[in-house]
């Protein structure tokens, strides 16, 4: 009987070595040292907003120029992905009644929205299943922030669409959306590639490519 007791006593002590990770509050940023964190209670709401926006903008900057590998991974937040996803879904939604001939046969708002979030979740789940050592929301955060090049390509394509279309402009839109696709894939691979064990990197990168390729296809097909 003593063995049973001691066994159950041992487990909490034994599990201490397994628990890892940091407990960060997203959006708080690096504590500046002299300020105590209680100051967030009585600071003006403008400061809170500007600090969070600064964190989001900083992440966008790192996506556009993916040099540091770990800059996006320190603290995840989902504000940037939410902004990008809502923006893309608003622009991409088709103005169609399914039976009529007018309008384009584009996706609904909710379809783009679900495609982005479910797609990011499935890609993340895939890398978890392959044995990646990254937390779920960190990966979703990186995938969402890396939508930025695709969203920029969407803006440029939207501007091009205001003029009369011809073959050259279609080709231009094709090139722009492909550049957005490659940029997004490159950035996401740079941030997420190291979390995979050796020999499985290709398997983890392929779904990321597919994810951004599908969204770039939506960008290119958007003609309304």
């Amino acid at each position: 009987m003593t063995t049973f007791d001691s066994k159950y006593d041992m487990y909490p002590a034994g599990d201490v070595g397994v628990i890892e990770g940091e407990m960060n509050i997203p959006g708080r940023g690096v504590p500046s040292g002299d300020n105590m964190e209680f100051n967030t209670l009585d600071e003006p709401i403008k400061e809170t907003f500007s600090r969070d926006l600064k964190a989001v903008g900083n992440k966008f900057y790192h996506v556009l120029i993916p040099r540091e590998k770990t800059s996006l991974l320190k603290e995840w937040d989902l504000w940037g992905p939410l902004l990008l996803c809502t923006f893309m879904a608003t622009i991409l939604q088709g103005s169609s009644e399914p039976t009529s001939n007018t309008g384009d046969g584009g996706p609904e708002f909710a379809e783009v929205f679900v495609l982005v979030w479910i797609g990011a979740a499935v890609v993340t789940l895939n890398s978890k299943l392959l044995g990646g050592n990254m937390s779920f929301f960190q990966s979703v955060c990186v995938l969402g922030y890396c939508l930025l090049p695709v969203a920029l390509a969407l803006v440029i394509c939207r501007i091009i669409l205001f003029s009369t279309q011809n073959t050259f402009l279609f080709f231009l839109r094709f090139v722009i959306s492909m550049v957005g696709f490659m940029w997004a894939t490159f950035a996401a691979t740079k941030f997420l590639g190291d979390s995979q064990p050796e020999g499985k990197k290709g398997l983890a990168v392929y779904p990321i490519c597919l994810f951004y390729f599908i969204l770039s296809w939506l960008v290119l097909s958007h003609t309304a």
Partner: protein
């Protein structure tokens, strides 16, 4: 003996966190030893370690059914393995003859089937749109793309990838004829598991991805040729790998016919629904009627 062990156990409490992992393994080893030793005196706990050692219930295994770790064994493949499996689903002569028995049946993966299906869905949606654009290229009507091809294609493909292997698995399970006892033994060892059938069927769809891209070329006889080629090649490879199991069935010919027919139906359905010109010049009709008998 027990005094010494409890002394060791008490000491482990003081270990630093980085030592705790190895310490726990040691503790577990000590425990299992003690547990097994104790079994001789306590009769009623005897069956328990037997259940723990071998795993008769596949649902529990080492990990819980609802955890990610449970499914990680189906994704435990490397890049070159996946490439090798895709090659084996198109060109079986490139790999060894009992590749299916040795590799796929022993270690079925779900990575390939899932991502090949997803790729095929979006390839069909994208090239279906390109095909409809090409069909309307010389007409004056305003062409519009159809995002909802994605949902039709995904319904068709996921039904095919999950339901057909399930049916085939059931058919193989209940129509095999046991001739005598040792035949029975070999049969249970060679009959494929459900997971390996899912794996095999998922990989067999990989040939349709290049075929779907080629289907955008709006030439009727070429499209039908690709249907026949794709269905025949991947169906033949399926039957090639499954032949030892199929031979044991009572309805060998029916099963082979069904596998080939479903494969052909899938390919023909894709081509007709997503890529074919709806109302066209009579040459397409002629090709259809000549191919049907």
């Amino acid at each position: 003996m027990s005094n010494v062990n409890t002394g060791e156990l008490l000491n482990f409490q003081d270990y630093s966190p980085e030592h705790n992992r190895s310490a726990r393994i040691d503790v577990e080893a000590v425990h299992t030893n003690q547990y097994n030793n104790a079994n001789t005196s306590y009769d009623y706990v005897e069956p328990k370690p037997v259940v723990d050692d071998e795993e008769p219930i596949p649902k529990t295994g080492n990990h819980n059914f609802w955890t990610i770790e449970y499914y990680q064994k189906y994704f435990d493949v490397h890049t070159n393995e996946v490439v090798e499996r895709i090659v084996s689903s198109v060109l079986p002569q490139k790999v060894s003859r009992n590749y299916f028995d040795e590799r796929i049946k022993g270690k079925p993966d779900l990575y390939g089937p899932i991502w090949i299906s997803v790729t095929l869905i979006f390839t069909i949606a994208v090239s279906g749109n390109i095909a409809s654009y090409l069909q309307n290229a010389n007409k004056t009507i305003h062409w519009k793309y159809d995002f909802h091809l994605v949902s039709y294609a995904s319904t068709a493909i996921f039904c095919y990838v999950w339901l057909v292997p399930l049916a085939l698995w059931a058919a193989l399970k209940w129509t095999t004829n046991p001739d005598n006892q040792d035949q029975m033994e070999t049969q249970t060892s060679t009959s494929p598991t459900m997971m390996s059938l899912f794996c095999l069927y998922g990989y067999s769809l990989s040939i349709y991805i290049p075929v779907a891209i080629l289907w955008t070329i709006q030439v009727s006889w070429l499209q039908w040729l690709l249907v026949l080629l794709g269905a025949f090649v991947s169906g033949a490879v399926l039957i090639f790998w499954l032949l030892p199991a199929l031979r044991k069935s009572k309805y060998f010919l029916i099963l082979v016919g069904c596998i080939l027919a479903f494969h052909f139906l899938l390919a023909a359905g894709f081509m007709l629904y997503f890529f074919h010109v709806p109302e066209t010049e009579p040459s397409a009709e002629i090709v259809v009627t000549t191919l049907k008998p």
